[in-house]
Amino acid sequence: MMDAIKHFINFIAAPKILFNVILLSYLIIFPPIKPFQIIHNTLGVDRLWTKKGGIFIFSLMFLAFGFGLTDPNFRLIVLKPDNVPIVALLFLVVFFLWFALTQAKANDEAIAKGGKPKEWAESREKVLVFPDLVYIEFIALIVAAALLAVWAIALQAPLEQPANPTVSPNPSKAPWYFLGLQEMLVYFDPWIAGVVFPTVIILGMMCIPYLDKNRKGLGYYTYQDRKMAINIFMFFWLVLWVFLISIGTFLRGPNWNFFGPFEYWDHDKLEVLNNVNLSEYVYMIGLKQGLPSNIWLREAPGFAVLIVYFGLLPAILAKTAFKDVYQRLGVVRYSIFVVLLLMALALPIKMYLRWLFNIKYIVAIPEYFFNI
């Protein structure tokens, strides 16, 4: 029985399946479009953002974690000293998500009744920073210091064998906060996953205050007043950042192969990779001929896809789905917004192309290291 459950969990933890599960949960919890809003309402997802909902979420998390700890392979990877912060991060992220949205829900209900958010009433009253704030800070500081001291005494900082440039460990993993980027390497070349995407992520984050022109929702927790901003943010933060880091940390073993949470990290595990480029699909499978020797001709289908995706699609969206957004933001802001969004969506799109059609590259010019 236990083995059957573990087997099942290993099975659904495979990126192909787990990503769908996570994406679907995201779409239902933070519905960006109507159909999911209906599912959201029928399921009553909002009930999660109450005290009872919190107890439910955390019992579930602790139960799952406790069950996992009975397995030696799970213990090995989760209790590795360097992975402890990521386990903590998962619990903290869920806790603060619940904490923020619970307050948001209460405020939204008050606003719907024509009232004001809780923070509003409090902000009318002034308090002295000494002692009211200084003491809170003092306590927070003591708690953090105590936590760090206990953590430092309980867990020794790992020190492996002395550096040896001739023996590379398998898997070689980047520091944990970069594992989301390393996970992207499965789907994109290093120049995109390691250089372009990080740069765009940083610039994109800096753009947030200038792209969000909604003036409501400043200084209090709310969901209803800034639904779109929060929905988009959660996609980046939870699905593309925290989730990918967790995959990279817990579920990627030797040769960056996937391993279920209860699976032994077998160095000899083989995974068949027979990925095909788009050009090969078009010419060899579609037109039943050899690849043209001219690079431009060979990659024409890929470039066409890119031009449609980044050139035409924003214009089409401006006329259709994003009509209001376009009108609110204006040309410059809208262009930046839509290109950032499309770049982010390129990752899940590439994932699905890989899983469904074994697509390796849309544009493949290895002669110039230009593969997308």
Partner: protein
């Protein structure tokens, strides 16, 4: 607390000395409204704060304390980092042995533990701080630019953590940095394995080679070796702390200048 004036108390005597009054100008005990304000105004450290705040702004449920904790952990990392520098020599001969000695020879040697776990914790608190700032919409005008500074602080925090990762000079360190720095080799135009690197050439002379590309600039060599260790050490101990402190000064200053902590209008 009432004090019996007839009872002899050393502390009470001490409080009347010239020395004590020169240190604590506000006077103790703090009982009056005026004294509470003067404490904030007189102290160079506390005057980072305003004297008075709206009540919601001191609630943990609103602030999560994450910004303050990030700063506190930064201070802890600075202190433990300085202590670690007493023992650590950034050369490939000594680095690993020095780190080993830190835990085995140094009495109460948990400084490295505090430093390493603190570094992880700081990355987490910075992320959660940004999460809170987003959820309360605090990046909205007039605080847009402070969010941009905050993103710079996030990047510098992660770079600090990344450069520190190499210093123990064990297998985990060099291979994590190898994986990370290989990305630099794929930088468009400037990396040897990046798209367009062959465009930067005159005739047969290629400017972007394994000894002149972005990766080489980062590592000071073609692989993670002696030069990379020194570079990362200098960046970790001097360069990046210098940068992050400048950004922090601007960040804290702007919090006050942009109207203090966000709140409903």
């Amino acid at each position: 607390m009432s004090i019996d004036p007839n009872k002899f108390s050393l502390f009470e005597k001490f409080k009347n000395t010239q020395f004590y009054r020169s240190v604590f100008r506000t006077g103790v005990p703090v009982v009056s409204h005026r004294q509470r304000m003067m404490i904030m105004l007189n102290s160079v450290f506390l005057h980072l704060h305003p004297v008075r705040l709206p009540k919601h702004a001191v609630k943990v449920r609103y602030t999560w304390c994450m910004g303050g904790l990030s700063f506190f952990i930064f201070l802890v990392l600075t202190v433990t980092g300085i202590l670690l520098m007493f023992y650590y020599r950034p050369t490939i001969e000594y680095a690993y042995g020095d780190v080993l000695d830190l835990s085995q020879q140094v009495p109460l040697g948990i400084m490295r533990e505090i430093h390493r776990w603190g570094a992880h914790l700081m990355v987490i608190t910075v992320w959660l701080h940004m999460f809170r700032v987003f959820m309360t919409g605090s990046y909205k005008p007039p605080r847009e630019f402070n969010w941009v500074i905050g993103v710079c602080l996030l990047v510098t925090t992660m770079l600090l953590s990344f450069t520190g990762y190499l210093l123990p000079w064990d297998q985990l360190a060099i291979w994590a940095i190898t994986v990370g720095s290989n990305m630099a080799g794929a930088t468009p135009f400037l990396g040897m394995n990046g798209p367009g690197s062959s465009l930067l050439s005159i005739g047969d002379v290629n400017f972007i080679t394994s000894v002149s590309d972005a990766r080489f600039a980062l590592l000071g060599g073609r692989f993670v070796g002696e030069a990379a260790l020194l570079r990362f050490y200098v960046l970790h101990c001097i360069g990046l702390p210098f940068i992050i402190m400048i950004f922090m000064i601007v960040h804290f200053w702007r919090v006050r200048k942009d109207g203090g902590i966000s709140g409903p209008t």
